[in-house]
């Protein structure tokens, strides 16, 4: 696959109006790699959720603070890096949306969906500030 080994990067302002753009690029990249439609929709949702978190929680919707999205294309995998310019957070302290106490909470499911649909997730601190979430998905061979 010719695209393997390529990196695609974009930087957007902290506005939800850019979500559709990021989604379109995500889906296109996944199709290039050969992801089936079902898997692609879940990966796209995961990327979307991470960008929303970066805008809303990381950058506090400050339009002057960018969100960087980077796709590293492998032969049969994709790694997605989403960076905000926020203060950081401890993902282990997030409430469990499956806890009966939290079931009717209107918020708090985005990261849970990301963890469910992606093969790997990790949170890193950028040396120049901000949090990076790295997500990886392997592309299974189509049946």
């Amino acid at each position: 696959m010719k695209a393997a080994g390529n990196t695609i990067e974009l930087s957007i302002g902290s506005s939800f109006e850019f979500l559709e753009l990021v989604s379109s690029i995500t889906i296109n990249i996944l199709q290039m790699i050969g992801f089936d439609d079902d898997t692609a929709q879940w990966v796209e949702l995961s990327v979307r959720e991470s960008v929303i978190n970066a805008i809303k929680h990381g950058n506090k919707e400050d339009p002057s603070k960018p969100v960087d999205v980077k796709f590293v294309i492998g032969e049969k995998e994709v790694n997605v890096f989403v960076r905000d310019r926020g203060e950081g957070f401890d993902p282990s302290q997030l409430p469990d949306p499956l806890d009966p106490e939290n079931l009717l909470n209107p918020n708090g499911r985005g990261i849970f969906y990301m963890r469910t649909f992606m093969d790997e997730i990790e949170y890193l601190q950028h040396p120049e500030g901000g949090t990076i979430v790295r997500m990886k998905k392997m592309c299974k061979a189509k049946e």
Binding site: L19, I52, K56, L103, L104, P106, R109, G110, T116
Partner: protein, 113 residues
């Protein structure tokens, strides 16, 4: 784009939702529509999701919020015609144990007490 068509069957208000229920867009409109209906005393609400093309966690959260608001006012809110994606997202977060879900409108309407 998101839009809502409203119709009634007896004392049940059916909201036919179209498009995307996502952060900032459909979420807000859905919330406002449900609150307006509750303020008008319409407490039996059936959300038809058959034409919802996309939902994110904010959209799921808005469904939950509408359910809670309706229940707190002594009403009932139920879901009709879930797409597979919405069903999966609700199932993964155990919300299928919270909502009453139907794939047949007549059965859904019959279920309102």
């Amino acid at each position: 784009m998101f839009s809502i068509d409203q119709r009634t069957s007896g004392d049940v208000t059916i909201l036919d939702l179209h498009g995307k229920i996502t952060i900032g867009e459909g979420s807000v409109q859905l919330r406002e529509t449900v609150r307006k209906l509750l303020d008008e005393g319409k407490k039996k609400l059936l959300l038809n999701l058959g034409d919802v093309s996309y939902v994110d966690s904010s959209g799921i959260g808005e469904l939950v919020s509408c359910f809670t608001t309706t229940s707190n006012k002594g009403g009932q809110l139920k879901l009709l015609n879930l797409t597979k994606k919405i069903q999966d997202l609700l199932m993964i977060t155990k919300l299928l144990t919270v909502f009453e879900v139907y794939d047949d409108e007549a059965a859904a309407l019959q279920s309102f007490k």
